[in-house]
Symmetry: none
Subunit: 160 residues, 2 copies
DNA sequence: TAGGTTTTTGCAATTTTTTTGCAGAAATCC
DNA sequence: GGATTTCTGCAAAAAAATTGCAAAAACCTA
């Protein structure tokens, strides 16, 4: 489990920083990182991570991360989210506001990761996010203001 | 060109209303609609539409649309789209508002489908949408209000 | 609208990539 | 220390992508 989790992390990292077009390719990247596994296992990992195979601008295929999400089945109340230790999100570059919207710029490909962290934290100040490649849009709750949003985000983006 | 365009439309429609997991499957759906083509052509179509193969809630593979409407304005207006009977959109989880924005949360991977339906319906109350993986943002027309938006959406999301 | 051009598609494999069933290993749980 | 669950390699099957060409369709344009 230890191995698998760090491998999944590695996969996320690789996919978020490189243009990977096939599992073979990803496999060899993982090997560079010291992970030894078969393509079959990788396929299962990608499935679990809900990675999608997309078509990039140049028409080349590319694996991209979607937002990992724990499913909260309707009705199923369940115990609250695992509440992972405040993950420090990287890739942050800047934040700007306009009306009830905040726009965060990140390093290329870091947007979905950052949005993931924000979503995961479920801040009451933020009612939703959408991520592109290097931009995250946040919709600010009506009962919140910019200062509150910044303060909230500080828990995962210390240097904000 | 005529045939191809309507076929691409058909593909979009099918993918937005059904969970299609393979090209074979899509192929036979298209056949039901009267489109006759080979897997090679379908592969080319999907590539052109930049359809992605994703993983749905049940863990099943699924083709999903990314940007449904860049194809719209092709100088072609003529016969307005078939205006299919109000398709019922699935995957809806919740809707929240802030200012002139509505944020809809969906089950993973359903956002673009839902956005597709909303766009397609061309509600005057909604001037645009953005979809991520499980989130759709709607920009509400200035002359509309939340009640109107909800009422409009009810035509495609009955349980809203 | 006839003739030329461009685009699309089938054919028919071939190649590449992805998925899966199964059994053994490893990890986790009482 | 067994029972149970999770993970993984192996091998093969299934699915998807690509190709080179020729024919068909659609589009121009004079």
């Amino acid at each position: 489990m230890k191995v698998k989790n760090s491998r999944l992390d590695a996969i996320r990292l690789i996919l978020s920083t490189q243009e990977i077009g096939s599992q073979e390719e990803l496999l060899s990247e993982l090997e560079k990182e010291g992970f030894k596994l078969t393509q079959a296992t990788l396929s299962r990992d990608l499935h679990q991570l809900r990675v999608v195979k997309s078509v990039g601008v140049q028409g080349r295929y590319r694996y991209i991360l979607t937002r990992p999400h724990q499913y909260r089945h309707e009705g199923e109340q369940g115990e609250a989210r695992p509440l992972t230790a405040p993950q420090e999100a990287t890739g942050f570059l800047s934040i700007k506001f306009s009306g009830n919207i905040a726009v965060i710029h990140t390093k290329p490909s870091y947007a979905s990761t950052l949005a993931y962290h924000i979503d995961n934290y479920d801040f009451p100040e933020i009612i939703g996010t959408i991520a592109g490649d290097d931009t995250v849009m946040l919709i600010i709750a009506e009962e919140a203001n910019r200062t509150m949003v910044l303060r909230a985000l500080r828990t995962i983006i210390p240097n904000i």
